[in-house]
């Protein structure tokens, strides 16, 4: 299908090689995923039980959404350290606004998405107008918004309507979370691969000056990228709220590091200009399976942190070795 759609690109030998190399990255991640699944099957008989698999899929949709958000900024050549705080702010706001009355749901969703967009816009403004690297700007805003989350809700507590949380995380015999994952994967794929916005983001991340020379409004692209990332982070925050069913001003903290890890494992380059939306699914599942096996085997959950750190360094080392070739 791709061949018919993109004759221009495939006729160019260099581009074809690039395409193959990019697919290679994705293949590598999926090969790793298959190894992980095989290991999981071998290590625990409970792994294949429908209940466990369902849990594995549903509990990681939030991370997948957060990864797509992070992916946009990494494609831009930056890293978003404020994603965790955004998720926390959205979580506490949602808990505050979601009431039994379904009319309040719409309001809550709109407000949360607006918060995500607002935080993204603020980040983008700092990067563009303040001439900062994204990683530094978001390091600073991360503290501010973590404070805002604590300001809204100082202690874990509150709850959201169970009708809503059950529908989002278990609805239609567990097809709703899968549908959400598929929908946002498709959206992100189209956004990054088939829209002029996504191409501009990748071009800017690859080489800002040449992107500018080809007529891309780099500043506008950067701000829009942060807004899009903020909205996606807000969606992730809403899903995570539905999954945890309660408010916690620190709930997002772990997602900053985890989203960077999954995006990099999926084959994104921290230097920018390269990303794989499809690879993200495999990367999220790999991270999910690691936690899942640790749980099933009754191994201390604390190994999760060690595993996450080691995998992030390993994936970065691998990409460093590969890019040197």
């Amino acid at each position: 299908m791709n061949n018919k759609k993109l004759p221009g690109i495939l006729s160019d030998r260099h581009n074809r090689q690039l395409l193959v190399r990019r697919k290679n990255d994705v293949l590598l991640v999926y090969a790793f995923l298959i190894v992980m699944i095989a290991a999981a099957l071998f290590l625990s008989p409970n792994f294949v039980k429908p209940r466990n698999l369902r849990n594995l899929l549903c509990s990681n949709v939030g991370l997948l959404l957060a990864t797509f958000s992070q992916l946009i900024i990494i494609s831009l050549g930056g890293v978003d350290l404020s994603i965790g705080s955004t998720i926390s702010v959205v979580n506490v706001t949602a808990v505050l606004l979601l009431k039994e009355n379904p009319a309040s749901w719409l309001l809550a969703f709109v407000v949360c998405l607006a918060i995500g967009a607002g935080i993204g816009f603020f980040n983008g403004l700092l990067v563009v107008r303040g001439h900062m690297q994204p990683i530094i700007a978001t390091l600073a805003t991360q503290t501010v918004f973590a404070g805002v989350a604590l300001l809204i809700l100082s202690m874990p507590g509150g709850t959201i309507p169970s009708v809503l949380s059950k529908f989002v995380t278990k609805g239609w015999n567990y097809t709703v979370p899968i549908l959400i994952a598929v929908l946002f994967t498709a959206l992100s794929w189209i956004l990054m691969n088939r829209s002029s916005f996504g191409r501009s983001v990748l071009a800017t991340g690859g080489n800002e000056q040449s992107a500018e020379c080809t007529g891309i409004n780099v500043e506008r692209v950067k701000v829009l990228a942060f807004v899009a990332a903020g909205v996606l982070a807000a969606v992730a925050g809403l899903y995570i709220t539905c999954f945890t069913t309660s408010g916690n001003p620190l709930v997002g903290e772990q997602y900053t590091q985890r989203s960077i890890t999954t995006a990099v494992v999926a084959g994104a380059s921290l230097a920018g200009g390269k990303c794989s939306v499809i690879g993200c699914i495999a990367a999220v599942l790999i991270m999910g399976i690691i936690n899942n096996i640790l749980n099933l085997m009754g191994i201390s959950a604390y190994y999760q942190y060690v595993a996450q750190g080691v995998i992030l360094i390993g994936a970065l080392a691998l990409s460093a070795v590969r890019s040197e070739k």
């Binding site: 890293v79 350290l81 303040g130 900062m132 805002v148 201390s300 942190y305 080392a317």
Partner: protein
């Protein structure tokens, strides 16, 4: 061509640092105005006790930021050191210094890993230290099984609590010695000059014959060791290991260094400014306590303070 006078160059360097010290004094006066007794001997002593810990931790952060990186593993190294010390010493007097040696060994290893990742694998410093920090947090939790126990030995608590020189405790003396050493190294030694050179321009540092891998890895080792020292002495202050130990130290140290006038892009600034930065962060924190501001407000103010400093620094650079 304009003639550059050394005198004006020197003024250009001294002025921002003097400004930071002025702000610190001003803040302290404001605090004293709002809460008379803020500048009393007792209170200064209690603030000084906390400043010393952050001050030691900031030595590493200053060096790393000077090379153009940022250390996000700092708080986890402090935590690991603190928890290790608490459980290994557990009140046993004779175990104090062997434990210290062991912790230093662990910290050197952490620094080597951080430095190697940053130099050889070319991983951005923040991401590398974020990864090692997470891994170290896991190691800490595994070591103490999620609930740190143990307590400090008498020696250690007297170092942190007993006044030895006037109104200073042992930790403050350690800090002053280490601070003087840091300033001396940065100003007068090849290592110091090389750190500035790498932060200004890594490529030209390589071409001017600086052994970049050695310097960079040394910086990360020093940083981890300083964090380890902080965590070790912190035990004397907290008496037992806690998982919340030094939770705010990543942002506190970055804020102190940046407020102290060290450029986040590396290559300019120094530890003299950082000392005032540490003072400002600590006075600000107690000022906010006086004003009954909660943790949330403190975080927001601190974040905004960093943003303002960043806008000032980056805004100035981009105008050139």
């Amino acid at each position: 061509m304009e003639k550059i006078s050394f005198k004006s160059l020197r003024m250009q360097k001294i002025l921002p640092v003097a400004l930071v010290y002025a702000v610190m004094v001003l803040l302290a006066l404001v605090a004293n105005f709002l809460n008379p007794g803020f500048l009393s001997g007792d209170n200064i002593y209690s603030i000084f006790k906390q400043i010393a810990f952050l001050g030691i931790a900031c030595i590493g952060q200053t060096l790393i930021i000077l090379t153009g990186g940022i250390d996000l593993s700092l708080r986890y190294v402090i935590l690991l050191s603190n928890v290790l010390a608490a459980q290994m010493i557990n009140g046993n007097e004779s175990a104090t210094w062997p434990t210290f040696a062991f912790i230093m060994g662990v910290c050197v290893a952490v620094g080597l890993v951080n430095g190697a990742g940053v130099y050889f694998l070319k991983i951005p410093a923040m991401i590398m230290t974020l990864a090692t920090g997470t891994a170290l947090y896991g190691v800490t939790l595994l070591y103490c099984k999620g609930a740190p126990g143990g307590h400090a030995s008498v020696t250690l608590s007297s170092i942190a609590n007993k006044q030895i020189l006037g109104s200073m405790n042992g930790v403050a003396v350690v800090w002053i010695v280490l601070a003087a050493l840091t300033i001396l190294v940065l100003r007068k030694t090849t290592l110091g000059r090389s750190i500035y050179a790498i932060g200004t321009n890594k490529t030209s540092a390589v071409y001017s014959g600086i052994h970049v891998p050695f310097i960079l890895i040394s910086v990360y080792v020093i940083a981890a060791v300083m964090a380890g020292v902080t965590g070790f002495f912190f035990l004397g202050y907290t008496e037992s290991g806690y998982l919340s130990t030094a939770a705010s130290y990543n942002m506190d140290s970055i804020a102190a260094v940046v407020v102290g006038g060290t450029s986040i892009m590396g290559g300019s600034g120094g530890y003299v400014g950082t000392i005032a930065g540490v003072g400002i962060i600590m006075v600000l924190s107690s000022l906010m306590s006086i004003l009954n501001m909660n943790e949330a407000g403190k975080q927001i103010v601190q974040g905004l303070l960093i943003i303002v400093m960043l806008v000032l620094v980056y805004g100035r650079k981009s105008k050139r």
